[in-house]
Amino acid sequence: MDVELKVTPDKYLPYRYAGASGDFNPIHLDPEFAKQVGLPSNILHGLYSMAQVARACTQAAGGDPRTLRRLSVQFRGMGLPEQEIVVTGTQNEQGVVALEAAQGDNKIIKNAEAELGTA
């Protein structure tokens, strides 16, 4: 089974995700603050990007949330709003799905592994 999902978070996505998740760290919300601490601009929440990897897995497994048994990720490059995220994954013979998420050449999630089951 191959996994693929493409999504482009809009400019205001980090504000909606902050409200939904409770994470109001200004590096995600305030471009000026983010630049002051050495970031290119306000960055996506890593756990939002992980949620896209999770969504890619459950969609590939038919949509039922019970299919996702385990997911581990490593956060790497900074994700940015208004750039397309592409999640890709391939299932190996043991049933484990190896995944990553990237914006262009910038891999924002690496070495992700998911275990899927039946619902």
Partner: protein, 146 residues
């Protein structure tokens, strides 16, 4: 300077979170989920859930209060100005539905230094009101330049 690992093994009192239908909807909408089992009670029940079900990654919402308290513990002593979220793992059990009360306990699983960076690894275990484990999380925070 080596990292202070005195808090290794420390545990924190459980923190409760009551799961609501509208909060699930808000979260599901924010992350782009469109399966009606996250929004519609009848469709969720038709799919075999007790009520509207939470997407798996809703784990971050009901774990947040417990995790925040541990992360801010002065005895752990993470330097937030230099903090990055390095890695995350969740292993899911019983689904979480609207109306559940989820209790999350955090422990400091490991603190160590590698390559001039401090690694702070927390484990969260979340259970529902019937004592069933709903998720086990491993949260790896990295502090640059310790």
């Amino acid at each position: 300077m080596p990292v202070n690992d005195a808090a290794k093994g420390k545990t924190y009192p459980p923190v409760e979170y009551e799961v609501g239908k509208e909060k699930i909807k808000e979260y599901a909408w924010a992350v782009g989920e469109d399966n009606p089992v996250y929004f519609d009670r009848e469709q969720a029940q038709a799919a075999g859930f007790r009520d509207v079900v939470a997407p798996p990654m809703f784990a971050v919402v009901y774990s947040w209060g417990a995790m925040g308290a541990a992360a801010l513990d002065p005895e752990v002593g993470m330097n937030f100005a230099m903090l990055v979220h390095g890695g995350q793992e969740f292993a899911w059990g019983e689904p979480v539905c609207s109306g559940d009360t989820i209790s999350t306990e955090i422990s400091v699983k490991d603190i160590y230094e590698r390559g001039g960076m401090g690694f702070y690894v927390f484990e969260s275990v979340s259970r529902n009101q019937d004592g069933q484990e709903v998720v086990r999380g491993t949260w790896t925070n990295i502090v640059r330049g310790v």
